[in-house]
């Protein structure tokens, strides 16, 4: 620690006013404040501050998805690590360039985007597509709006949406049959050309073709699908951690799962031959991952707690509608993006009621 301290102190002058690498000041500061808690002191009341900060807020999400990442390595192979590295590298470069141009600090938001993005892609997507997607997502989804905290859409979903429209073939194939028994695919690096591992059908695709995958497989994760969305049990473990730490709001999660479950249940009851059962819908595809990790992004979801309930209901209902009544097999991504658009309106309505109540006060 002492050595690290000394290094920082030694290089510090060249990153500040008059130094050689003045333009890279945000990078230096981000590194320094990563290793050592900021030296800033309070100058006004309140003189003490809660230990929570944005860095920790964001790092909690990363801890939450670690079980999913480990599961994906086991089921789909080591190429996942390469995808995560590419995603972080490209997303980080975009973020750093914007921080330098704007002369602002580097925001921690890309740590989450860079981690979540590969987890919602097919497991053998070419690495260059991962890079293009995350660059588009961070640039269009976040930086154009003014950076972390000011974006309207979830950047990771914007990136995925872009890929889904630009490379529909690659985004709807490239699935991997989950590795089973022993070490799974922990020793393999699976690419699109590894013929034995590639499988064409996720549970949602199979359902369109009329065969329903057992729910127990989806809970364990022994099915094909996007990188992070296979194992229902592990997503729930990571997600509940997020709910406990209050980084994700339980209202969003509960309302999405409840409304989707109720709607799927009603449909299944009306025509069991055509519509899959509710539990199946909850564990299939990106429903759990979307509910716990994507929809709960505080920036793009409504701020007010009442707004969160309606936001969740909209996402749940739209997801089930897309899955059952349109040509698309999966609807979580579009549902959450739609929810992101509606979120400010929901907030506006809730705040309107609140202000009406406050008007006569005091």
């Amino acid at each position: 620690m002492k050595i690290l301290r000394d290094i920082f102190e030694k290089v510090s002058p060249s990153f500040h006013e008059g130094g050689k690498f003045k333009a890279f000041k945000p990078v230096y500061e981000a590194m320094e404040n990563f290793f050592f808690a900021p030296a800033a002191r309070t100058v006004m009341a309140p003189h003490v501050r809660d230990p929570i900060d944005v860095k920790r807020f964001m790092s909690m999400v990363i801890i939450g998805v670690i079980p999913c990442v480990l599961a994906s390595l086991y089921f789909y192979g080591l190429q996942i690590i390469a995808m995560i590295i590419v995603s972080y590298a490209v997303g980080g470069v975009v973020e750093v360039i914007f921080a330098m141009v704007r002369k602002e600090e580097i925001n921690e938001g890309f740590l989450v985007t860079g981690m979540l993005f590969p987890l919602i892609l097919p497991p053998t997507l070419p690495l260059w597509m991962v890079g293009v997607g995350v660059a588009f997502g961070v640039f269009v989804g976040k930086e154009l709006f003014g950076g972390t905290g000011r974006n309207l859409f979830n950047p990771a979903l914007i990136g995925r949406c872009f890929l889904a429209l630009a490379y529909p073939a690659a985004m709807s194939s490239n699935w991997v049959a989950a590795g089973e028994a022993g070490v799974g695919r922990l020793m393999q690096y699976v690419t699109a050309s590894s013929v034995d591992a590639i499988s064409s059908a996720t549970p949602l695709v199979l359902a369109k073709q009329g065969s329903v995958v057992e729910v127990s497989h989806m809970i364990l994760g022994t099915t094909s699908g996007s990188v992070g969305e296979t194992s229902g049990a592990l997503i729930i473990i990571g997600g509940v951690f997020l709910l406990f730490t209050r980084v994700a709001n339980w209202r969003t999660v509960v309302s999405i799962l409840l409304s989707a479950g109720v709607m799927a249940g009603v449909l299944h009851h009306s025509d069991p031959g055509r519509f899959a059962p509710a539990l199946w819908h909850l564990f299939a595809g990106g429903m759990l991952f979307g509910a716990f990790f994507m929809a709960t992004d505080p920036v793009t979801s409504p701020v007010t707690n009442t707004g969160k309930w309606f936001y969740g209901i909209i996402i749940g209902v739209v997801t089930i509608s897309i899955r059952n009544f349109t040509g698309y097999v999966e609807g979580v991504m579009f549902a959450i993006l739609l929810g992101n658009i509606i979120a400010p309106i929901l907030d506006e309505i809730v705040v309107g009621f609140r202000l009406r109540r406050l008007r006569g006060e005091g």
Partner: protein
């Protein structure tokens, strides 16, 4: 009554309930400026000998509230700018500043009630009163729509009601009676931590038969002792007249002034915080040398002294010499010295956080040892909603912040930034470390000014219209 928001900040270094009388000082430094008062009208000259209870100065803008001499001594005006210094301190018989001629005149003009108000003002009890909504001193001759008496003090480390009430229950209830005699059937709300406790039962026995006192229980979360919030909860409207609010020490001062006709010269202060080796309440007089208190109770050096609580108080000025008459406590906390290695992964394992992250969500509440660390870097708002959850005034701090960030001052006004009570909890919990409290304070002043200007403008236009009509 439903309370929203609020937070119980558990901190190490809570003062004991005991009150210790500090040794007599040799010199007193009485500040001419306090949070609310500016004693600009100095009534003494260099070298005067004053008796305890005599006027040293008054505040002409606040109903001539006096600054009383707490001890006999010799006045020095040139020793320290902004202070009246008393040396050659001695304990003499109190010398209440009440003039017989003036009193008989007041009796003729206003009757017995007038005398009481005259005594409260001149014996130094009136400065304990504040108006619940504005926080200013109410007009001593006015009639309030209600009185709120609070025995609780919820900001960490600030002088607690139970320490002040110790063995003085009789004086307290007598003070309540005196308060009631100033009113015309207006209610008195008495705020208690627990209206079923043994203490509350004793209070109830003492005040039995006085139907005008309503006992109200508030949850023990900061800042439910705030008079502004309480007045709102009781449905008292700002337009319906002033709401007098007063704490335990104020009721005791009323008793002293009206029962014994003696001036209130002593204060009970708390001395607490992580850097105090034995947190305690002390009994001192205004002007008591701060250095002497700090030498006795603060440990080490490189600490920060905060006048009143750590959430809403102010940093003690470096050149501050004496305790001011409005101070209710000193909070002493460590300045941040060492930067923690990988600090952002550690909080939660060993410290409590509002967001209950990591293990702290599974642990019971424990006392936190805070420093002046900012604990993060300033960031744009991430809309986590913590500020709105913790806000006792039920406004939406994040939304107002966004309006102010884009210079939409009218929108901020429409979102009722004026209801903010400056408790500081939003700034405390904000993960993006936004100075919400300060922003709202500035915004309120700006809105006030704009409204005042608009009012003057309208008045001027009206006059012009009248003139042209004539």
């Amino acid at each position: 009554m439903k309370f929203q928001g609020g937070f119980n900040v558990l901190l190490e270094g809570r003062p004991e309930g005991l009150v210790k009388v500090m040794p007599e000082p040799k010199v007193l430094y009485l500040p001419l400026q306090t949070k609310r008062f500016n004693f600009s009208d100095v009534r003494v000259t260099e070298g005067d000998n004053v008796e305890p209870g005599e006027f040293l100065a008054t505040d002409p803008d606040n109903y001539s509230i006096p600054l009383l001499a707490p001890r006999a001594g010799k006045v020095r005006l040139d020793v320290a700018a902004g202070y009246i210094v008393l040396d050659e301190i001695a304990r003499h018989e109190e010398h209440p500043h009440t003039d017989e001629d003036e009193m008989s005149h007041i009796v003729q003009e206003m009757g017995a009630g007038g005398i009481k108000r005259y005594k409260l003002l001149n014996l130094g009890a009136w400065e304990f009163f504040s108006e619940a909504y504005s926080g200013n001193v109410p007009d001593p001759l006015g009639t309030p729509q209600a009185v709120i008496v609070s025995t609780v003090s919820l900001e960490p480390f600030v002088a607690r009601g139970d320490a002040q009430l110790h063995n003085r229950l009789l004086q307290f209830t007598r003070g309540l009676e005196h308060l009631q005699s100033l009113l015309e059937y207006q209610p008195i709300y008495l705020i208690m931590p627990d209206i079923t406790s043994a203490f509350a039962t004793r209070v109830r026995e003492h005040i039995r038969g006085y139907a005008w006192v309503k006992l109200i229980e508030v949850p023990m979360r900061y800042p439910y002792d705030n008079f502004n919030i309480l007045a709102r909860k009781f449905g008292l409207k700002k337009e319906a007249g002033p709401v007098w609010s007063i704490k335990t020490e104020g009721v005791l001062a009323v008793d002293r002034a009206l029962t014994m006709s003696k001036p209130c010269l002593l204060r009970i202060l708390s001395v607490g915080g992580p850097r105090v080796h034995s947190p305690i309440h002390i009994c001192v007089m205004p002007g008591y040398p701060l250095k002497k208190i700090l030498d006795t109770y603060a440990s080490g050096y490189d600490y920060r002294v905060i006048i009143n609580g750590m959430l809403s108080g102010e940093m003690m000025a470096i050149d501050a010499l004496g305790v001011d008459s409005e101070c209710r406590g000193l909070t002493i906390i460590s300045e941040l010295k060492e930067r923690e290695f990988l600090g952002f992964v550690r909080p939660g394992w060993d410290r409590q956080s509002y967001s209950e992250c990591f293990l702290s969500s599974l642990r019971k509440n424990f006392r936190e040892r805070f420093t002046t660390a900012f604990r993060g870097e300033g960031r744009p708002c991430v809309s986590c909603n913590y500020c709105a959850e913790v806000c006792p005034a039920e406004i939406l701090p994040h939304r107002i912040h966004k309006y102010l960030y884009s210079d939409l001052i009218e929108e901020a006004d429409a979102s009722r930034v004026d209801l903010c009570v400056q408790c500081g909890l939003c700034s405390f919990v904000c993960p993006s470390k936004i100075e919400l409290k300060q922003q709202f304070f500035d915004a309120k002043i700006e809105i006030e000014q704009e409204k005042e200007e608009a009012r003057l403008e309208a008045l001027k236009r009206e006059q012009e219209a009248q003139e042209s009509a004539e």
